[in-house]
Structures are given as structure tokens and as C-alpha cells.
């Protein structure tokens, strides 16, 4: 069995890191403490690591505690979903899209279903559109709770109480999602032209009560960490992303909005019934770790507002087109199409090339975490290794989307 960590020969990523060290020392830019006899060392974080949020491997070149270079190595969760798409029908593939960004399954399903609907010319029903928005926003709250919770859990290993509160509240949202779709995480709820099940009796009232509690949840999260001196010292001013970085590296989502770039696809490229809804785009000012965290907490509040409006505006009607049989077999005409959603982590889109058969010809994901991870080396350079954990937590990465 090939053991790529054999001590005799480093693998390609480590070899690259060692080559870069050798090059920098040859160019006279070696360790800053070379006078004291220090060398630059290559440290391997991951792929199994408590703070890398999944199987992300960071090959970090350290000079003492300063990070000189980071080479992210991904692919430890690569399941070949784009190739699997070519072997499944459009309908059979819906559950697999759930598992792309597994914390935000509803949003991912929407990204795929919307592209196929656009290719095939299917219009979803109006009630289904509202239900889709409700599910997506509930999933956004749950996803941000995971993101913010695990971020604060990383700063002190499970030492903050906030992650427990966040997950406890998340369970209440998962109860709602389970009542509607039947599953806590992998929902398999969206269909071409609508959603699978209508909302059960009493769901709307329960959801409304829960959403009215959400501002209190956010106040609780902020009360727990926002004034903590250690939290502020670890988060303020670290990992600053400028607006030029956001454009260069195509950063989207809360990471971009924390830098002041008001790019929220629900507003800039609205889809579904978002033009009829009233909500604010949460912006940060400095683009540091603290702003990325705060933008997510603010977005939880805004999502609750959106859900309350949708519950009030929910029209009566069918949630699926036609009979149960109709949307099972979808054969879009030949062509290519890309649609994008505002996922909790950024712009999630699918580019589907269809050849007129029941199977997609080519499915390409535009995953926000894959794109956001490219800025990692730039953000981490010059920071200490402990800040690397804070910065990577604030980027809210989910490896399912990065590796697909």
C-alpha cells in the first residue's frame, strides 16, 4: 500500500515546500533568525486535524512561529461527484448534490435544481418558490451556527460555551427541516418544478415562533464572545482581506461582505422570490477575522426576517408540477447553462452541459469554498501559526464542496 508519508521520501506537496525553502535560502531570504541558528521547518497540519474542519491538509513552512508559506493539499474527500453525475439521471442525482456542502444541503440542492429547470424550461410553482426560500434560509441559519460555533470552538479547543448554544439552537431548526423533508441533514427535498412534500400542519406556526426567538439567540452568541478580551485579541486585525483580494480571488459570500464588498447574489443577481422580500445585506468594514464572524451572526438575524416574511406571504397552491410522475424523467434540450445561488459560504453554482439525454453530459460545480481556499496562502503569510487556526475557522470551509 502506498504510504505517502513514508519518512524516506516526502510527497509532492512537502517536496514543493522544501524546494521553496531551499530557493528562498539560496536567494538570501532564509530564516529571519538565521543568526541564532534557526531553520525554516515544514509542518504538516492534517489531513486529520481538529481545526482544519474536515480533511484539509496544510503544509506549513514555519520560521519559528511565523508562517512563511502555506501549501493547501486537498483531495482527501474527492469522491468523483462530477463523474458520478454522468452516470445518474438528473433526478437520481439530486441526493448527491446534498452532500456537496453537507452543512447547507438545501442551498446546494437549489443550485442544481435551478440549473436543470432553466435548461429544461421548467417553472416551479409559486408556493414552492416560497417554501424553497424558507428552507434555504433556515439552512443558512443552521449552517452559520455550525460555522460560527466551530470557529469559536477552534479558538479554544471546545473551550467556549458558544458552540454548545449554537448547536443546541441548530437542533431546533433541524427539527423543523426534518418535519418538512424527513431528514436532518441530507434532505433530498427539492424537485424539478417544486419541492417533494408540502409543509405539515402546524409547521408554519412552529416556525414563526422559532424565528421570533432567533434575535435572542444572536444576542446570546454575541454576549458570550464579543467582549472577551482574548477573543478580540485573536480576531481583530488578523487575516485582513482587501477588496482587491476579493475581486482577484473571486471571493464571495460572508467572506467578501466582511471586506465591505456588497456582493450578495440575493440582491445583486436576485432569483426566485427574493426581489419581493425586504432584508439587508450585512457588511463588515475591515475584512478581518472578527468581521467575518460578525457578518455571519448578523446574517442569522436577516435570515430569520426573511423566513418570517415568507411565512406571511406563503400562497396556497400545489408544491409540485403536475402529477408525481411528471418530473421524474427530465431530458433537457442540448445546451449549457450556469446558475448561481447565494450559499451560506458564497456563490454556489452548477454549470451543466446537456446533450439531450436523461444523463447530464458534464456537471461542473462552482463551489465557494474551493474558490475561497485559494486566498489562504496570502492570508496566512506573516501571521503566527496560532492565527492560522483562527483565520481558517473564519473562512468557514466545508471540505465536501472543496473536494467534491
Amino acid at each position: 500500500m502506498s504510504d505517502q508519508f513514508a519518512t524516506t521520501a516526502p510527497d509532492e506537496a512537502m517536496a514543493l515546500a522544501l524546494r521553496r525553502i531551499a530557493d528562498s535560502e539560496a536567494a538570501g531570504r532564509g530564516s529571519e533568525m538565521a543568526g541564532l541558528g534557526f531553520n525554516q521547518v515544514v509542518v504538516n497540519m492534517g489531513p486529520q486535524h481538529p481545526s482544519t474542519h474536515g480533511v484539509l491538509r496544510l503544509v506549513v513552512t514555519l520560521d519559528g512561529e511565523l508562517v512563511k508559506d502555506v501549501i493547501p493539499v486537498i483531495g482527501y474527500l474527492h469522491r468523483g461527484k462530477e463523474k458520478i453525475a454522468e452516470k445518474r439521471t438528473y433526478y437520481q442525482y439530486i441526493p448527491i448534490v446534498d452532500r456537496t456542502e453537507y452543512v447547507a444541503g438545501m442551498n446546494c440542492e437549489w443550485g442544481y435544481v435551478r440549473t436543470v429547470e432553466k435548461l429544461a424550461g421548467i417553472e416551479p410553482t409559486r408556493r414552492a418558490e416560497f417554501i424553497r426560500v424558507i428552507m434555504a434560509e433556515l439552512n443558512r441559519i443552521a449552517s452559520h451556527q455550525v460555522g460560527v460555533g466551530t470557529f469559536t470552538a477552534d479558538l479554544a479547543p471546545l473551550g467556549t460555551a458558544m458552540v454548545f448554544y449554537a448547536f443546541r439552537h441548530r437542533e431546533k431548526i433541524l427539527d423543523l427541516l426534518e418535519a418538512a423533508s424527513g431528514a436532518r441533514m441530507m434532505f433530498n427535498y427539492f424537485r424539478f418544478g417544486g419541492v417533494r412534500y408540502d409543509l405539515p400542519d402546524g409547521w408554519v406556526e412552529t416556525c414563526r415562533e422559532l424565528m421570533l426567538q432567533v434575535p435572542a439567540w444572536c444576542r446570546e452568541y454575541e454576549a458570550l464572545v464579543n467582549d472577551n478580551a482574548v477573543f478580540l485579541q485573536r480576531c481583530l486585525g488578523k487575516g485582513v482581506m482587501t477588496q482587491d483580494d476579493v475581486a482577484d480571488y473571486a471571493i464571495t459570500g460572508p467572506n467578501a461582505r466582511a471586506s465591505g464588498v456588497a456582493h450578495d447574489l440575493r440582491r445583486t443577481r436576485p432569483y426566485s422570490v427574493y426581489p419581493e422580500l425586504d432584508f439587508e445585506v450585512c457588511l463588515g468594514r475591515h475584512g478581518d477575522v472578527y468581521d467575518r464572524y460578525q457578518v455571519r451572526v448578523d446574517e442569522i438575524r436577516e435570515s430569520a426576517k426573511i423566513v418570517l416574511q415568507c411565512l406571511d406571504m406563503l400562497p396556497a397552491g400545489p408544491v409540485q408540477l403536475g402529477t408525481l410522475r411528471a418530473p421524474y424523467v427530465v431530458t433537457p434540450p442540448p445546451g449549457a447553462c450556469y446558475t448561481a445561488q447565494e450559499n451560506p459560504r458564497g456563490e454556489f453554482g452548477t454549470y451543466i452541459v446537456s446533450d439531450g439525454s436523461r444523463y447530464p453530459y458534464r456537471l461542473k460545480y462552482r463551489d465557494p469554498c474551493f474558490v475561497n481556499l485559494q486566498i489562504f496562502p496570502k492570508l496566512l503569510r506573516g501571521n503566527k501559526i496560532a492565527d492560522a487556526v483562527a483565520i481558517s475557522g473564519s473562512m468557514d470551509l466545508v471540505l465536501g464542496g472543496i473536494d467534491r
Binding site: I74, G75, A247, D248, Y338, Y351, R362
Partner: protein
């Protein structure tokens, strides 16, 4: 970089198409509008890098972000699809670049759009399209010693790829 106003409509797609046709008359062929948010064009591989630089610096319409680079296997050749976004125009531009199957080589645009870096690595990993001048042309998702490019339609899995089964 200009901060886009929230909810700004940007430019109309026909306007964008007209301005692109005026700015790059010979390089963007087959220019058409795909509602609601995309302008589609075909670019020849030889002028790809030049077109990229000019699109990046276009007055009032600069395409600053590269959303993704997709590699598609068209049977008789490969196609690289560059999906770009302009904040000012608030719309996408989709460039299709075709390369022959026998020699799938393209110029890299990772110096124009740093976001294209890993997408090009993935295109190489999955489809085998090589990008000249790429700073780090390694496989990204599969193990380094993987044999073959899985997303090709004629991909046959070899037993050397599976020491663990």
C-alpha cells in the same frame, strides 16, 4: 475597485454585448446574449491570454473575477469554459475555448485572474488540459501518482490507481 451599490442593475446585457464587440472586434467570435445574466463568446486559443488581459482592464466593464474554468470533453476535442464576472456590469461572460484532443495545451490566465489558478489545476487533473506558464502545474484532487484523467469520456480506470481495494 469600485464598490458596487447594493441592488444596482449594472449594465443591460445587450449594451454589454455591444461594448464587447466594439472593444474586441476580432477576438470574440460568435458573441451572443443568454438571458438573464450571461454573454457568451468563443475565443481562439492563440489569443486567449491577450483577450484575458484586455477584458481585465476594460474601461467601465472590467471583468475582475474569474468564477470558474470548466473543462468539457466534446468528443473530438476539449473545451475550456471561462466564466467571468464584472462588478460594474453585474453580469457574467462565458468564453469557450476549444483545443484539439491530440494537443490539449492552453495559455494560463492565472497571472490575470489569480482565482483561475486552482481551476486550471483541476482542469489538468480531471481532463488533462495543460496550461503553459502555470506556476504550480500539479494534480490537485487526485493522488499525485494517479494514472489517467477521469473526466474524459474514454477514461478507463487502471488497477495501479487502486492499491487499497
Amino acid at each position: 475597485m469600485a464598490l458596487p451599490a447594493i441592488g444596482s442593475a449594472g449594465l443591460a446585457l445587450d449594451d454589454v454585448a455591444a461594448r464587447l464587440a466594439a472593444a474586441l472586434p476580432s477576438d470574440l467570435s460568435d458573441l451572443r446574449v443568454q438571458e438573464p445574466d450571461t454573454v457568451v463568446a468563443v475565443v481562439a486559443p492563440a489569443v486567449l491570454h491577450d483577450v484575458a488581459l484586455r477584458l481585465r482592464g476594460l474601461e467601465g466593464l472590467a471583468y475582475e473575477s474569474c468564477n470558474f474554468v470548466a473543462a468539457v470533453d466534446l468528443g473530438d476535442g476539449f473545451e475550456a469554459v471561462y466564466h467571468l464576472y464584472s462588478f460594474a456590469a453585474n453580469s457574467y461572460l462565458e468564453l469557450h475555448v476549444a483545443v484539439p484532443r491530440a494537443k490539449p495545451v492552453l495559455d494560463t490566465v492565472s497571472d490575470v485572474w489569480p482565482a483561475a489558478d486552482w481551476h486550471e489545476r483541476e482542469a489538468f487533473d480531471m481532463m488533462g488540459i495543460r496550461f503553459e506558464g502555470h506556476p504550480d502545474p500539479r494534480r490537485i484532487l487526485l493522488p499525485d501518482d494517479w494514472v489517467g484523467h477521469p473526466l474524459r469520456k474514454d477514461y478507463v480506470d487502471s488497477i495501479e490507481n487502486h492499491p487499497n481495494v
